[in-house]
Each structure stands twice: as C-alpha cells, then as structure tokens.
Symmetry: C2
Amino acid sequence: MATNILILSAGTRNKVVQAFKKELAHNGKVFATDCSNIGPAIYDADEAIIVPKIKDPFYIDEILGVCKKNNINGVFSLIDPELSLLAENADRFTEAGVTPIVSSYELCETSLDKYRMYEMLVKLGIPTAKCYLSMEDFETAQAAGEVDFPVFVKPRNGSASININAVESKEMLIALFHDFDDLIIQEYMRGQEYGADVYIDLISGKCTDIFLKEKIKMRAGETDKSVSVKDERLFKQIASFVEIVGYRGMIDIDLFYDNATDIWYLSEVNPRFGGGYPHAYACGVNFPRCIINNLNGRENPVNIGDYQEGVYMMKYNELCILPEDKLAK
Amino acid sequence: MATNILILSAGTRNKVVQAFKKELAHNGKVFATDCSNIGPAIYDADEAIIVPKIKDPFYIDEILGVCKKNNINGVFSLIDPELSLLAENADRFTEAGVTPIVSSYELCETSLDKYRMYEMLVKLGIPTAKCYLSMEDFETAQAAGEVDFPVFVKPRNGSASININAVESKEMLIALFHDFDDLIIQEYMRGQEYGADVYIDLISGKCTDIFLKEKIKMRAGETDKSVSVKDERLFKQIASFVEIVGYRGMIDIDLFYDNATDIWYLSEVNPRFGGGYPHAYACGVNFPRCIINNLNGRENPVNIGDYQEGVYMMKYNELCILPEDKLAK
C-alpha cells in the first residue's frame, strides 16, 4: 500500500526529506511545506507546498486541506513551535485518517519549557542541570554554594539560542536580563556532551531504537561534528524514561556525561527529529522506515543499539540554487 | 599543462574543493590540508593531507615540502589567520615555483584589523561605518550626537563573532568589554546587506570579475540565503577601490546599501574566498578558472557582471560520513 507523508515546516532539513524519499521509493510520495519559498528542503520533496505561517488562524484548516487533497497517511513537523499545535489538533487529523507523528500536547509543552522540564526531571529523580528562573534565585543558590559562574543563560521557551555559550560574569548576567525576557539560568555542565536519537513506537509505545553520539563540535547551537558510540546502561535509562513519560515517535535527547561521578545528566528533550538525526540515518538507524511501518499498522521490533561505533559525521554546506521563476508559488 | 592546486585549511569548505576538482577535471590535481582529520573538505580533494597547526614553527616548511612533493603550481588558504602568514612567506613559495594566491602582507594585515581597515577607508574617502576602539571614545561620540545604540560589537581582529547581532544597551556594552579583550564598537548599519565576490587578476592587477548578491538571511555570521543582483555604479566603485589598494586574487567584500541616501557603505574585506562564493560559482562566475588561467600565464579578460540576476542560493547541511579507519592519518 502506498504511504504518503507530509513534512511540515521543512526549512533547511533537506536530509530528512531525502531520507523519506529514499525509503518510500516508488511506494508513496513525500510532500513538504514551508511558509517561505526560499526554504531549500521543500524542493527535495515530490511536491513543495507553500502554506501560511503557523500563527495564521486558518493554518490547521489549510494543512488538513493539503492532507485530504494528497491522501496523506502521516504528518509531522520539524520545528518546535509547531509541535504543540499539531498535538493539540491531533483528533482533527486522526478523524481525517491522518496520523500525527508527535507526542501528547502536555508533553510537548513540558519539553519545550526548560523550567517545567527541569521540574519534571527532578520529580522523576533523573539527574539534570540545576535551573533558576531569576537572578535572585541564582544568587541565593550561589551564596549557599550550590552553583557558581560560569552558567548557561537561555530563553525559557524555544530553541532559539542567545548564542553566548557560557556566561562568565555578573556583568553579563545583568546585561542579558536587562536586554531579554523570559530567561533561565542553568548550571554549567562540565561533562562531555552527547545526543541521542530515540524512536518510540506509535503502536506499542515501546522504545525501539536509540542512536547515541558524542558531540565533537557545536556551531550555532547545532551539532557540527559527532561520532557514534554506545552505552548499554544509558540505553536502559533512556528507554525507561521515554516509556514512563510517554513520548511517541522520533525524539532527540541532549545529555552530558560526567566522568568524575559516572553520572549521565539529561539536559533537554526535543520531541521531533533532531538536527543531528541524519548521522543516525547514515548509520542505518532508520526512523523513516519505523514511521512507515507504524502508518501501515506494523509494530517495530525493539532494536536498540543496532549500529556501528566510531562512525564520524561532519557537516558542510550544500546549496540549493534556483532562479526566481522556479521558486514555488 | 597539468595544474596542481593546494588548498590550505580546507575545513568545511567542500564546495570550494569540489569546484577546483571540476575545473581541473583530468588536467591536474587538487590537494587539501587540514590540521584535523575530521574536517570534511579534505575528503573531496584528490589527496587529503594532515598538517600541523598554523602556529607550529615548522608549518611553512611542512607546506613547502607538500608543494615540492606534489608539483604544486598554486596555493591558497581558506582561513583568515593564515593569510598574512602565507603573504609573509610569499617569496619562499615563489622561489619553489609555487604561486601563492593571496594579497600583500600589509594588505592582509590591514584587512583583518577592523580598526586599521576603518582608518584606511576613511583616508580613501570610502563610506564606511563609524568605528570606536573604547567605550570612552564611543560615549564621547554618543554625547556629540554622532552615534547611538544599537551598535555592533566585534573582536578587532579575526572573523570569530561574539554572536550578538546588535548591542542595545550600555549594560551589554559594559558586560562585553568586561568579558572580552580587543573589541571595537561599530555604528549599526541600517541598510540592506550585500556581499561581493571579486577577482583581481594576478598578472594584470585588474579587477576582472564581480558577483554581487543581496544577503537575505544570515546564520552564525555566514550568509545562509542570498539572491544575485547587479549594480553598475557599485561595480565601478569596487573595481576602482580594489585596483587602487592593490588586492590580488579572490576576495570577499561586505557592503551595506542605504536606500535613503543612495550610498553604498563598505564594511569589511576578506582577502580570500568568502563563505558565500559557491553562489557566484553556481551562477558561472568562475574564480577557479581565473586562477588556473593565471597559473598558466594567461591573463583573464575583464568580465564584470557576467551572470544572471534573480538567482537564489539557499544553504543546507550535507554530511560527510566516515568510519574511524577511513579518516586521514
């Protein structure tokens, strides 16, 4: 049976679009949307569709229209602000015969709010970086010897980074809180940074796949170079965590490993394809295949850690070049 | 005659390596170096060569050795800190029969020091953003009504960006000068940003090619999306400037256009391939061909503005995937 996939807000995620094209081959089509006709990824799909911005009141109606017109079987988004929107309207998609590949609304909201996430992790007893909502809270904790500079300062919501890796001084802290709203202060994690690409079966709710990579170099908040690794103990911890909390589909987890204490810290969960997922795909950890199986009523077998270690991923810039008259309308 | 090219510090500039490979076809080889074996661009060359860091005292000896061993005809670097080094040792390369494709030492030093560049542009009467070396100088100018927030704050040397686009407050200015050394404060340019890829013939010293693009979106200090445009008046201004100052080979110029006053402002010159050059190459503005011609004793004809307008460039991430045992040694 043909499977048609709709990828929302495709942006610059060409590799994800390409992966679905490859997996579907001639057995289904990939449709990709963007609100801009100069987002390159839509041009790698079978069909590029320009849609309104996600804040448009008729956005979901428009997307449902696209689904009906193209016999879409499954839909997902590649950007954070759309995850809750898709989850909130999950019933409307299901009623139209379309599976929204996303976690629950509540879980999307928690995952994208760094302070709510912190509170949830603390409640579950999962090690994570200490987190403060105000300069006063931070200074109280600092006086008590709980935390000290450097610290991370990030917007409480959203993945947009202020692009200062580590805040070293009270002067910078004051300036950031003066210039920006809704910041959080996070304990600086000194360990090695890792990322995990995780799939939770849409039918069984079981964690079926995990790909773990050591991050070697970051650039503009994204993993620029990484190498595949394995850790059986962490695999068990991740599988247990995502199943208890109830994530669904593909998610991306940021972690730190502290060598001195032999503890894994969980720092963030993005309930969508992570920017580094193409590394996992290149190593044979095939989430598009998992999704296509699920959309066709097939459970995926548990297959955690089925890839080669020591495989390096290095990103570089590729170009999509199009004259004005070839841009999507 | 076969032409062999050596590309130093290739890093993630795969598209530049690929362009030379394509232009040389079977009539020469491309060699590329990096101090790291997880820089992806070296793997697109005919031969990937791991070399010491540029600060190593024997670095130039090592590169000269690579040139001799591989009958290299021309050499250039893709990173700023290496330009002056190459220019300083130009004679050693020339004596070995290798053409260093780089501007003079003095001009590299000036171009990479934002304050010296500002002084040179002012002296030449070329419009540019006002520039201050200290908070005191800025505040004096601010009190005199010459300049006001927002401002750009950048390291005086080097292309590394502090990643704050515009500084809006005195608090942030204080924090930045507290945390970082050798900063400059630049007037915030409100105009549209443009980039020009320019070639100055190594033999005739004439400006032979200019590709102008409107920058649509920046990401981590690099042009992420751009569109080709033309402006005959600016072409003349650029050709005159680069010939008077004496640049050589491929350079990259950052510009702002102020619609209200109809003035072009020159903001920066990088005397090397710019990060956005592959857009020019895709539009047929062929610097590798110019270089190969020059290395073979042929002058290039003046051919400014020979490309199509309205061609869009959109960057996305491509991956180089290699298992540990396939990395260069």
